[in-house]
């Protein structure tokens, strides 16, 4: 069982490093789409999760709510990983 908090830490580090510019102050509550998260960001994030946790998150699970912020995204990822 993977904790959502563990995934949140991992995702925050990834998003800060690979997706957003260094001047973005990304917190777990930052609105991702509002901060510039686009479809290519989603591709890279899904690939990162697949590589790190060994499972592709089905795109249908990625709703607007899941992208509200990093905390919500981590919760979605944790739910799907723990289902399998």
């Amino acid at each position: 069982m993977i904790q959502a908090s563990e995934i949140e830490t991992e995702l925050l580090a990834f998003l800060r490093r690979d997706i957003f510019s260094p001047d973005t102050n990304l917190t777990p509550e930052t609105d991702l789409v509002g901060a510039g998260f686009d479809s290519m960001s989603l591709v890279k994030t899904l690939l990162h999760v697949e590589q790190k946790f060994g499972k592709w998150i089905p795109e249908g699970e990625i709703t607007g709510d899941a992208l509200a912020n990093t905390r919500a995204l981590a919760a979605t990822v944790a739910r799907i990983l723990n289902e399998s």
Binding site: R17, D18, I19, V33, F37, D38, S39, M40, S41, L42, V43, K44, L46, L47, Q51, W56, P58, E59, G60, I62, T63, G64, A66, L67
Partner: protein, 466 residues
């Protein structure tokens, strides 16, 4: 001629028709032409001279379109620069493409404001770029065998010809509404220019997820979807009851359309994704509109005006694919190579291997050009290899696309180390400094040697592997 004339014709014919819808903003054809004229006046003050090459590092939006046409109106050459490029890559592009300036949407180091929405970085060239007497509109990157990055040169007339040819297949008209989600820096000519030429409406869907994309399609009664397998995969996996009855044409821009995505999309919406063959040097060559279900792995038949021949076919009919038709590129920019030198007896040699079936459907079996398509962004292996090969621990590298069931392809690399155990700990960080993020390989495989041809020692290009 100048491509702005085509748009101005559309504006005369359909002045009040909506050209673009972006969030809550609508802009008519007449308003778009006005915006272009205003931008063109501002750009004139740069006094760059006819034929100056200008980089455009803008995100998708009406301003991207208006600036492209405004640059054309001043007879400047547009060179799209993907916004994801780090400063070092932008500076390389500026040197290689002999840019006189680059336009940005916000203030950066060494930029000056032209308007509140245009910031310009200028370069002093010892001698102006030589356009060899051509009426150039556009230079688009591709990769070459000798250079990591070379530019495909397209004159205004060439773009007009390929747009007219492509629309014989798409049949897009003023009655169409296109739902758009691809990066304009990678897709513009046989798409946006074509749509504006025929008076269609383009909805700029900024959305990342399926739901808003489907809502936009239904709200604006979208008739055309033109996207990468990733976007269609997102839509196909949506589990809401929403349908897309208004859509009449859904084109997948890459021939690496996974069967799973095509089948799921058809099952979900009852509509077929049409695989297309687009080549940067040629435009749209083939479209499978006749049998996308039965022959899902065929790019279809050549579109009207295009001819495709298989050279030196083996006993299975497989040989090199050569193409001729309207709108073949005018030259390569770096180093300059004229159209005559690009052609073999009037045919463009794609380097791809393919065959026709008995009904005239073209099947591509391997792509020599090796361009990788990651969710609509074009990635050239040579460009990434050039960066990897400069890493102190790497002797040589080979970059390839790996087929991904949802994305089409992802970027991976094989590397040969200088010495056993050489450190590549900082490789990801190194790549981030030198490459746009979407170009960074997802995986690195350390190998002992790279496959090379026995006679010439040339690197054997991997085709997309599964």
């Amino acid at each position: 001629m100048n491509l702005t004339e085509l748009l101005e014709n559309s504006a005369r014919q359909w002045p009040d028709k909506t050209a673009f819808l972006e969030d809550t903003t609508e802009i008519s054809y007449a308003q778009l032409v006005e915006k272009i004229s205003a931008f063109a006046e501002k750009l004139k003050t740069l006094q760059l001279g006819t034929g100056a090459r200008v980089g455009l590092a803008y995100p998708n939006g009406v301003n991207y379109v208006a600036l492209t046409y405004a640059l054309w109106k001043n007879n400047f050459v547009v060179v799209p620069v993907p916004t994801e490029c780090p400063p070092e890559e932008i500076s390389e592009i500026a040197t290689e493409m002999e840019l006189s300036a680059i336009l940005f949407p916000k203030a950066l180091a060494q930029t000056e404001p032209l308007t509140p929405e245009i910031f310009v970085s200028r370069f002093l060239l010892a001698t102006p770029a030589d356009n060899h007497g051509l009426n150039i509109a556009f230079i688009r990157f591709t990769s070459g065998t000798t250079n990591a990055r070379k530019g495909v040169v397209l004159a205004h007339e060439t773009i007009r010809d390929r747009v007219l040819a492509a629309n014989k297949a798409f049949q897009i008209s003023e009655h169409d509404t296109v739902i758009w989600c691809l990066p304009m820096a990678h897709h513009f000519l046989i798409t946006i220019v074509l749509y504006l030429n025929v008076g269609a409406t383009v909805v700029l869907a900024r959305h990342v997820t399926a739901k808003p994309f489907l809502e936009a399609t239904n709200k604006w009664r979208g008739t055309v979807l033109y996207a990468a397998p990733f976007h269609f995969s997102l839509l196909a996996r949506d589990n809401s009851p929403a349908q897309i009855e208004s859509v009449r044409l859904a084109v997948s821009t890459t021939c690496a359309l996974p069967q799973e995505v095509a089948a799921q999309f058809h099952k979900r919406f009852g509509k077929s994704l049409l695989p297309a063959l687009g080549i940067i040097e040629l435009g749209l060559v083939a479209l499978n509109s006749e049998d996308p279900q039965g022959r899902w792995n065929s790019v279809g038949k050549p579109i009207p005006d295009f001819q495709v021949k298989i050279v030196s076919p083996d006993e299975h009919g497989v040989g090199e694919v050569d193409v001729r038709g309207p709108g073949i590129c005018d030259a390569y920019a770096a180093p300059w190579q004229s159209r005559e030198n690009l052609l073999r007896d009037g045919w463009f040699v794609t380097g791809d291997l393919g065959r026709f079936d008995d009904d005239g459907f073209l099947f591509l079996l391997s792509r020599k050009t090796a361009v990788i398509n990651l969710a609509g962004r074009k990635v050239f292996p040579e460009e990434i290899e050039a960066v990897l090969d400069k890493h102190p621990s790497i002797k040589e590298s080979r970059v390839f696309g790996r087929v991904h069931p949802h994305l089409g392809e992802v970027v991976e690399a094989e590397i040969v180390l200088n010495a056993p155990g050489a450190s590549i700990e900082n490789l990801s960080h190194y790549c981030r400094e030198h490459l746009a993020s979407y170009k960074i390989p997802t995986r690195f495989h350390t190998v002992q040697t790279l496959p090379r041809t026995a006679v010439t020692g040339k690197l054997i290009r991997a085709t997309a592997t599964t």
